[in-house]
Symmetry: C2
Subunit: 103 residues, 2 copies
């Protein structure tokens, strides 16, 4: 498995919009085991994204999906930068997080 | 929802043992939506734990569970310290990670 933990910063006040783009764009990605979007409680313009994939290749391939390309295009104008980023090797656990209204 | 992203360090060479304790101890915790254990590819003695809970209270309550208390007692001698720790507010996503053999 391949994992990513990362922080993304948006332009001021655009976090809910960024979250909605992220959640819309990431459903049904082949090889994606988990994708959780979270607000940073210490920064109103930051989100954390934690991902688990079957393989690093599956993650790489996802970047070419039309839905992901579309999400990237929509999000680009409101992405202000990136914070911490950690690659991981998930080995197990459990969990199911259902999609909620991000607004 | 309440989330935690954190790094735990073990004594040298004990990572697989620590992972097995973690995975054994965390099944069936009430209010736990996701719990993923991952190896840090840059540090052979570090694991990343990412958690999503229904509430901060659910996470707090879990620390009193017999299974979690037992895991803490077993892990304590091989926990060398903690690294980064971030609290988050998960807002959505998807995912299902099944428990694998951690060894």
């Amino acid at each position: 498995m391949y994992g990513l933990i990362g922080k993304m910063k948006c332009t001021p006040g655009q976090r809910d919009f960024l979250i909605s783009i992220l959640l819309e764009g990431v459903s049904g990605m082949p090889g994606c085991l988990s994708y959780v979007v979270a607000k940073d409680p210490t920064d109103p313009d930051a989100v954390w994204i934690t991902e688990a994939w079957e393989s690093q290749q599956a993650h790489k391939d996802s970047l070419s999906l039309a839905s992901v390309q579309s999400a990237i295009a929509k999000a680009r104008p409101i992405i202000a930068g990136f914070g911490e980023r950690f690659e991981t090797q998930p080995v197990g656990g459990h969990g199911h997080v259902t999609v909620n209204n991000a607004a």
